[in-house]
Amino acid sequence: MKSFLNHLLRAVIFVAILLVTLYLLSRVMTPRTNNKEDGMFYENANAVFSEAEDSIDVLIIGDSEVYSAMIPPQIWEDHGITAYCCSTPGQNMASSLEFLQTTLDKQSPKVVVMETNQFYRKISFDDSIMNKLGMLLPIFKYHDHWKTMSWDDLTLDDEIEYSYSDVNKGYKFVGKTLAPDDPYVDNMVKTTEVQAMTQRNLSYTDSIKKLCDSENIKLVLVSTPSLKNWNYKRHNGMVQMAEKLGVEYIDMNLLPDEVPIDWSRDTYDQGDHTNYYGASKVTSYLGDYLEGLGIFEDHRGDPNYKSWDDSLKAFKKVLKKHLK
């Protein structure tokens, strides 16, 4: 028994020292700024933390469908509403919850738009644990940062200086077109079948809803047009989900008049993600919807939001250059 306790004590001390070391190394490995060169990944989505405090009206959260389809500068130009795309490639619900939690430390959006493709992305047990570990001990998240570190970075200061801001507010401009094979396969053939979500994603959905409720945020579910990612079974699943949560659900795949996607022109990867032409249609509808809610102030002309005008100018420049 004495020997067992001795070994147990040693094991506890070993683990404690390891945890302290990992904590200290986490401080060292955390990027100093939110620039890509400093080890920050998904710098455009993470640039949401560079935005002025309480300046974002709408957070749009999801995977690549979001940053391909929602253009915050356009919403600003048309409606004076500030929106930001917190979206990364293959983003799952665990990351979305993390994005929402961390963004709410600095922002008080009135609406959170969740793109629905992520609800059907499976999250493995390992992904889930790794996500938690990364939040508790950032070394698990930023461990590859060693490649871009300099000697000056070897400090215990774990404050990230959010110096990089994205003029596109999380939107990724793609101007090229790659049409699906003609005739394209209709993804929205009506059916009564329902595609179920995994238990884990249901659990994350509940957490997101609870968080929104506690912060008095309106949650809206939106499916962006996609021939490859969306279908009627998933639509039915989201209808049920929206009913259960008591939130609004907009499926743009079923709004051919309001969001008139031309599949021969409006996507850049054969019907999966919208290009700029498709995105402007999606954004136009979303902007009108948001304004129609009647809960947003028009910030245009407000000197506190001058940076949004500057961003719009920069975005238009990029647009002009690419659309030449």
């Binding site: 070993f14 990992l22 990944f41 047990f125 889930s128 644990i129 698990f140 461990h143 060693w146």
Partner: protein, 539 residues
């Protein structure tokens, strides 16, 4: 976060990777903890339950296949045993001639039983694993012959570990048949031997005499075992996460032929793949043996520094050892010792001498072994080619061996000199890498295309478009240096773990911390990396 995905069948697929968090921080600690607190008499039953639970988590209802295998070989074993007992009972007191006749009769019966068992188990494996490949080729043949018939290509889901536990089951039956072991009347012990969870995914392919008794005579969890086992798992994790999974990015790019890589890039990818495969498989074996060690069980080793081999024959005695010895004992020996082969050998001896004479039968047996070895890895022509490639290399070695010896003597070359040995090792490594290029390529055609590219379009590869950068390469080389150091120590018969265990605690802890942090910081996981499934689990 819920444990839902772990608690439902087939949702624990990531458990096939012994380096997954679900295995390392949930399943393994849970099993070790429960095993540790249970009274001794329950431990063995719990291990069997844990093994079935593991298979069920990974492949759900396919567990039934494993259970059927256990019950089947248990029955066949007892059948063989009964025949043996029956013979003894009947033979007692019989005249010599009659006894001989009776023995022959029972030998025939026993052979019938063992054949039936082999047909059932190997047949099951053949149907599940190869019927698709067989049908595709029959269809191609029919089409070439102008016959307008297309057979439906069957698709079966393979139970996890079928290629491994079927071979264990067969070895048990054959060993009982040969009288090397006694048939086990205890189905729990036999079940534990066949299904022990660490070995089920990628082996090693154990023999009944190696692990059955150890598993039955369970040990308590001892500090030394726990510590040594954990250290070995950590060492395997380093191999997998820092080398194998990091190289995967580049290897995948080249072998998927995403870009028109030059011959140098292909050659570099073949080297990287060989390293990746070794690190992945031997790393997994470290995790398997480390896990078993925690429970006080010594598993047979699957690797013995294969890249120190001087010939291809030697390489295969050091690489995937338990598969090699299985083929040696259950294919090579039975073929060479068959009456027909013995006849061929004796007549060949007379005609072509004592060296080349036995080689005739030996080569036929070798051909059988390498056909099986190639096919065991998968149902594709590229695997058959891989088997034939090694068959030809070993056969060539056997044929030119005496000539090389004569030349060495004539030229006064010392075959044991460092330079000669070094050149032999270098040659063996090159030959292995070429073989692995075909093994990894997506089909035989792709393999030939890549090989041609390597020969005809050779240029030094550039770092661009590789999927890995200079830092990755330096890191891999550094880690390989550590592994080389440990391998040299092991080759000299020095156990690094035993040496370290005698050092002061501060030094031991410092080394352990360094290893853990090395993996945490430099491991290929998280952002930018996709988890790579264990490479041998698919075989």
């Amino acid at each position: 976060m819920t444990l839902e995905s772990l608690l439902l069948a087939e949702k624990g697929k990531s458990l096939t990777n012994f380096f997954s968090l679900s295995y390392m921080i949930v399943v393994l600690p849970f099993v070790v903890f429960v095993y540790g607190i249970l009274p001794k008499k329950w431990k063995r039953y719990f291990l069997l339950l844990a093994s079935f639970g593991f298979v069920w988590l990974v492949s759900g209802g396919m567990l039934i296949y494993l259970m059927l295998t256990i019950f089947s070989v248990h029955y066949f074993g007892i059948w063989l045993d009964r025949l043996q007992t029956e013979l003894k009972g009947k033979a007692g007191g019989l005249p010599k001639e009659e006894r001989k006749e009776l023995k022959a009769l029972y030998q025939k019966r026993k052979r019938g039983v063992v054949t039936l068992a082999a047909v059932l188990h190997i047949g099951g494996l053949l149907v599940l694993k190869y019927s698709g490949f067989f049908t595709v080729n029959v269809n191609a043949l029919l089409s070439k012959l102008g016959v307008d018939i297309t057979l439906t290509i069957p698709k079966y889901v393979l139970p996890i570990g079928i290629s491994f536990f079927t071979l264990q089951a067969i070895s048990y039956i054959v060993d009982v048949y040969h009288g090397l072991i006694k048939a086990d009347d205890n189905v729990v012990r036999l079940g534990l031997f066949i299904s022990f969870f660490p070995q089920i995914v990628e082996g090693p392919i154990c023999r009944y005499s190696q692990t059955a008794e150890q598993l039955w005579n369970v040990q308590p969890i001892r500090y030394k075992n726990l510590s040594f086992g954990a250290q070995r798992i950590l060492y395997g994790t380093m191999k997998k996460y820092i080398i194998a999974d990091r190289l995967n990015l580049y290897v995948k790019n080249v072998f998927d032929m995403k870009l028109d890589y030059n011959g140098g890039a292909v050659a570099f990818a073949a080297i990287c793949y060989t390293v990746q495969l070794y690190m992945d498989f031997s790393g997994s074996m470290d995790a398997v043996c480390g896990t078993a060690e925690i429970f006080g069980i010594t598993m047979p080793e699957n690797f013995k520094r294969p890249f120190f081999s001087r010939t291809i024959s030697e390489f295969w005695t050091r690489w995937h050892i338990t598969l090699g010895t299985w083929f040696r004992d259950y294919v090579l020996y039975p073929v060479t010792s068959s009456k027909r082969m013995k006849k061929i050998t004796s007549s060949a001896r007379k005609k072509i001498g004592n060296h080349y004479g036995p080689l005739v039968a030996g080569s036929i047996a070798l051909f059988c072994v390498w056909s099986c070895n190639g096919l065991w890895h998968g149902s594709a022509w590229s695997y058959i080619f891989f088997g034939m490639y090694h068959f030809v290399l070993i056969l060539s070695g056997n044929l030119i061996g005496p000539i090389v010896q004569k030349v060495n003597t004539k030229l006064h070359i010392n075959p044991n000199s460092v330079v000669y040995r070094g050149l032999q090792i270098f040659r063996t490594i090159i030959l292995v890498i070429i073989g692995e290029l075909f093994f990894r390529a997506k089909g035989l055609k792709a393999g030939l295309k890549l090989f041609k590219k390597m020969i005809t379009d050779f240029a030094l590869p550039t770092i661009q478009d590789m999927g890995i950068d200079g830092y990755d390469i330096v890191l891999v080389i550094l880690t390989l240096g550590i592994i080389l150091f440990v391998s040299i120590m092991n080759e000299k018969g020095i156990s690094v773990r035993e040496v370290l265990a005698k050092k002061p605690a501060a030094l031991r802890w410092a080394i352990l911390y360094a290893l853990i942090l090395f993996i945490v910081i430099f491991g290929a996981y998280g952002y930018g990396y996709k988890p790579v499934a264990p490479m041998y689990a698919k075989f």
